[in-house]
């Protein structure tokens, strides 16, 4: 063949090969339901061979401190939606149990986990965030809904992601926001109603859940293996446990919080940005080249 034809043939072969290689890698199925109501279910992981399940319980020992009442008198429409009087949701759950604990795998996973196409929805009802604690995957859409018919704004204050501040002057749902870096937890708040506070956990994989009022949580479709689980609570801080998931098996995990933990609790979240934090793992110093951490 002539030089030109050789070149063209190779080019064609190369392009075809590249196209085949690229198209084969995409995963198209996002999967089933996402966690919208804080009911203890995990986000939608893909079906995995011999997948197991982690079921867990978060116990609470001792007397729960009373949540503070909220003075909502400036917003009577919202106040009316709280027949028992509005309260903060710092420590909630049935007797002996702790709800709104965010649980996720922090070590032991490998590979990439694409984000589902369905968004997570955080609603504002009665001038409160529902759910109060929620998880979302990195790259997954999170939509904020205003069901109150009065002005709210959603101000997210992450450190590893870009903070934003969205006005919602009346009932509406805003376009999906996405977090591009894992971060636990990202606080959200309303500037108009200072008592409104919520927490979003941005996770690079789908293996997370929030405990329900009865303390229970479930993480499904977990590949067999040994993992580190971390629990996070907004007042009592974090704790970790090891768990081993057998093929097609169910692993049971219990976290035990107690009231005395409040004293020494470490509660990671978007804290005031520390200009003096020059440490290598300080959030300010992470560079683009770093591999995304499994957090």
């Amino acid at each position: 063949m002539s030089n030109t034809r050789v070149t063209r043939t190779f080019a064609a072969l190369f392009v075809t090969g590249a196209l085949l290689a690229c198209s084969g890698g995409d995963n198209t199925q996002g999967g089933g339901e996402t966690d919208t109501a804080g009911g203890g279910e995990s986000a939608a992981p893909m079906a995995v061979a011999n997948a197991g399940t982690i079921t867990g319980m978060v116990n609470f020992e001792g007397m729960k401190p009373a949540n503070e009442p909220i003075d909502m008198s400036e917003e009577p429409d919202c106040q009316a939606k709280h027949p028992n009087g509005p309260m903060t949701e710092t420590v909630v759950g049935d007797d002996g149990k702790l709800g709104n604990v965010f649980v996720r795998i922090t070590e032991g996973l490998s590979g990439d986990h694409p984000a589902p196409s369905e968004p997570v929805i955080v609603d504002q009802v009665g001038c409160d965030y529902v759910p109060h604690v929620v998880g979302v995957m990195v790259g997954q859409g999170i939509e904020f809904k205003n069901s109150d018919g009065l002005a709210h704004n959603v101000q997210a204050q992450p450190q590893d992601n870009r903070p934003f501040n969205i006005s919602q002057p009346t009932s509406m749902t805003s376009a999906a926001q996405r977090f591009s870096a894992p971060e636990v937890m990202i606080p959200i708040q309303c500037s108009i109603h200072g008592w409104m506070k919520g927490y979003i956990g941005a996770v690079a994989h789908p293996y997370f859940a929030t405990s329900a009022m009865d303390g229970s949580f479930t993480i499904s479709n977990v590949p067999p293996g040994t993992y580190t689980l971390e629990a996070w609570h907004e007042k009592y801080g974090t704790m970790t446990q090891q768990v081993t998931v057998d093929p097609n098996g169910t692993a049971t995990v219990t976290f035990g919080y107690s009231a005395s933990m409040a004293e020494n609790a470490v509660v990671p979240l978007g804290e005031p940005f520390d200009p003096h934090n020059h440490s290598a793992d300080g959030t300010a110093m992470r560079h683009a080249g770093d591999a995304p951490q499994m957090r």
Binding site: F164, P169, S174, I192
Partner: protein, 539 residues
């Protein structure tokens, strides 16, 4: 050497070159490693923004809001979506124009175009976000031009969208949600007083306001209305309406004049600070600045100026002062604000720049300051100066005290003597008949002082003579902002001048002179012409 003459210069050159080459190499290498903006930045910017761009320079502790932290890369003034990075032009704009209402000056006239552009690149280099993210630029529309319909539409939208919850019904930044605000780094921050647009961080024109509505002011509680626009809750035209409405809240051009004119009252003096008669009296803007002369100094004053109006008649003089104040101090709703701002700005001048006064930062050692009232003072020399020599402008001194009118929201008006900064004592004797009235509405104080023009005390009080400039200076305190003693806002010497009405002679005399001159002229010319007609010969 046996080299021919022609070779010697070339050899010398080669030897010299060989010796100098490493030096040249090192210096160009060093210059190549240093980013072009670094020298400029370290000379002009690092004093506030810090050598590492973290907003922790030596001057930062004296500023509220704090200088921007470029590592965090949360930019307030942009043309991009909330959460997005700014464009290069956005950063350059702020370098050029500065940010009014903050300590950031404009550098357009101080640095060359190249220096400023190099700064943009250098400032971006502090943050890793610029390596990974692209700015998401919004499609901002052009100004449609202000109309009465748009302003009215904006007024209605301002109500509907509940902007007043933070900015107040009259826009003075005194909404019910105002006292609890903090910025993204937990520093105290207040919603803008929309009637003082010269303090808007991003500029005061309708275009600037419209842009801020769309982008939000990232790093502050001010949200973006972009989602509401995309969701059909508000239209682009309505956003322009809001911008024009807010623009209409401005007081119009306030030219600062050194002489405050007091007018002669035709029909008696106003009866109260809210008397509609005041609306016809010209008002004079006196700018006030934070007191930074005498310790304890105050770098975050709440009151940026006061409007002064004055009238007099044969017996009395009346002065009305009006100024914006977000609360009627002491207001329990603002007690937490007072603690926070005092903890951040007051304790040790040159204190910890990172001290953000969230609940964690206020420990028992910085106890909340006692509740203090709103107050205002104006003072004069005790006698009319015969030259430009005046007492010390900041409340006088012991050698030459000033005569002062002082009003407080927890007390009344009283006549004082000022013997120096913050050293105020009641006048000796029974005073000279000063009476005050005050009213507070929608974030504005109005205080009326009234006193007989003739002072009963000829030594320690001034009489208000017409037709003479009388020096006057002012000091204002916002109690809920932690202002008391020497912490407050101060002016320099101005003058108050009781204008005398023009007498009829002012108009009559020129007319008379014109008629006389014309008459005489006609006479002279007429006589000369008659002589000519009669075949007059030369004289």
């Amino acid at each position: 050497m046996s080299l021919p003459a022609t070779r010697r210069p070339r050899l010398t050159a080669h030897v010299l070159g060989a010796l100098l080459f490493p030096a040249v190499l090192t210096s160009t290498a060093a210059a190549a490693q240093e980013p072009p903006g670094k020298v400029t930045y370290e000379k002009w910017c690092s004093g506030c923004h810090g050598v590492d761009g973290r907003g922790d320079g030596a001057g930062a502790a004296f500023m509220l809001p704090r200088p921007r932290n470029f590592v965090q890369a949360l930019y307030q003034i942009r043309t991009t979506r909330s959460g997005s990075l700014p464009t290069d032009d956005d950063i350059l704009r702020v370098i050029n124009e500065g940010m009014p209402g903050t300590a950031m000056p404009g550098w357009r006239n101080a640095l060359t175009q190249n220096e400023r552009q190099d700064l943009v690149a250098y400032v971006k280099s502090f943050s890793r976000f610029f390596e990974t993210d692209q700015p998401d630029v919004l499609d901002l529309s052009a100004a449609p031009g202000r109309t009465d319909e748009l302003v009215e539409s904006g007024r209605r939208k301002f109500q509907e969208l509940e902007c007043w919850k933070c900015h107040g019904m009259a826009g003075r930044g005194n909404g019910q949600s105002a006292p609890t605000q903090e910025d993204n780094n937990k520093f105290p921050i207040r919603p803008a007083d929309l009637t003082q647009p010269w303090l808007f961080n991003g500029g005061s024109k309708a275009e600037d306001i419209y842009r801020a509505l769309r982008t939000g002011l990232d790093g502050t509680p001010m949200p973006s209305l972009e989602d509401a626009l995309q969701g059909g809750i508000v239209t682009d035209d309505q956003l322009w309406g809001i911008a024009y409405y807010i623009e209409s809240l401005a007081p119009g051009k306030a030219v600062v004049r050194e002489v405050i004119e007091a007018r002669l009252a035709e029909n008696g003096l106003p009866a109260s600070p809210d008397d509609p008669a005041w609306n016809a009296i010209e008002r004079f803007w006196v700018p006030l600045v934070g007191q930074i002369i005498v310790s304890p100094r105050w770098f975050s004053p709440a009151i940026s100026g006061v409007w002064v109006q004055a009238m007099y008649d044969d017996d009395d003089i009346a002065v009305r002062l009006s100024w914006d104040d977000r609360s009627k101090s002491p207001d329990p709703a603002w007690a937490d604000w007072r603690s926070r701002v005092t903890a951040v700005m007051e304790p040790k001048e040159g204190g910890d720049v990172t001290a953000a006064a969230g609940p964690a930062a206020t420990d028992s050692s910085t106890a909340a300051p006692p509740a203090s009232p709103d107050a205002i003072a104006m003072w004069f020399p005790r006698s009319l100066p015969t030259s430009m020599e005046r007492p010390y402008f900041f409340m006088g001194n012991t050698k030459d005290p000033v005569y002062m009118w002082h009003w407080s929201s927890l007390g009344d008006g009283s006549e004082m003597l000022g013997r120096g900064p913050g050293m105020i004592d009641p006048v000796p004797g029974n005073g000279n008949g000063l009476a005050t009235q005050s009213s507070f509405q929608d974030g504005e104080w109005r205080v009326m002082f009234r006193r007989p023009r003739a002072a009963a005390d000829s030594v320690d009080a001034i009489s208000f003579t017409a037709g003479q400039p009388i020096p006057v200076a002012f000091f204002a305190w916002d109690g809920d902002n932690g202002e008391t003693g020497t912490r407050g806002s101060l002016s320099t010497w101005f003058f108050v001048y009781l204008t005398e009405p023009a007498s009829g002679a002012v108009f009559a005399t020129p007319l008379l002179a014109t008629l006389l001159t014309a008459g005489l002229g006609l006479l002279v010319v007429g006589r000369a012409q008659r002589r000519e007609r009669n075949g007059g010969t030369d004289d």
